[in-house]
Symmetry: C2
Subunit: 145 residues, 2 copies
Amino acid sequence: MILRTHLGECRWQETALHAYKQEGSSFQDVTRQILFESSAMAFQWRYFEVAPGGYSTLERHEHEHAVLVARGAGRVLLGHTVYPIQLYDLVQVSAWTWHQFQPTGAEPLGFFCIVNSQRDRPQLPNAADLETLRQSPEAATFIRI
Amino acid sequence: MILRTHLGECRWQETALHAYKQEGSSFQDVTRQILFESSAMAFQWRYFEVAPGGYSTLERHEHEHAVLVARGAGRVLLGHTVYPIQLYDLVQVSAWTWHQFQPTGAEPLGFFCIVNSQRDRPQLPNAADLETLRQSPEAATFIRI
């Protein structure tokens, strides 16, 4: 379909809603929709939504993320720092940067996340990585595993 | 900058506002902001805004557009058909499809448009193309050159 209507609350016509699933990873209350992918596009445009109290997987990878907040508000861990994020804020997740998204308040946190079609698989933190991350007090308080 | 705050009305921190410019093309009251581009990204994420009464260039090209309406409402020509579009609607502009965006009402029409970093240059309609397009009554009424 060349035109897919927004049905409200970040659901779209003819667009499947998936529970976010990633082998071996830890996450809570996250859904995923693929908004655009095509053999002619070198990228994939996804929409992720984290329910109140939930969190995205704490991970890092070589490929970069281009993120725009599409619903609600929250906080994002980037490396050892936690930043507040609001509607339409832009987040660039650079290569090999640990990151995790969490909503604040009673609304879900939704964001568009665009990545290269061809990309490496995310890496999860091992015990040593977590110890290093937790040397930052704000990261230690923020991280959910 | 890894985090760029939304300043309101689709302006962003540290993000330049350009008058849309394309050699030989016809457009009116269109601005462009590049939200993401990077040597590690195979795509470019742009935001275009068309002021009330304005219109984007009528063009076609081999590369595909992934579009999401980010502000206001409008209409889009895709091939020979005109579709109404509203906030968060998704538009996929396929290869070699003539397209033009116009706002409706008193609000600007803003949209995210993601493309491959490596792409061909847009083609403008010649007299024969316009004649063919105008065989569709709705296209004939819609088109602004």
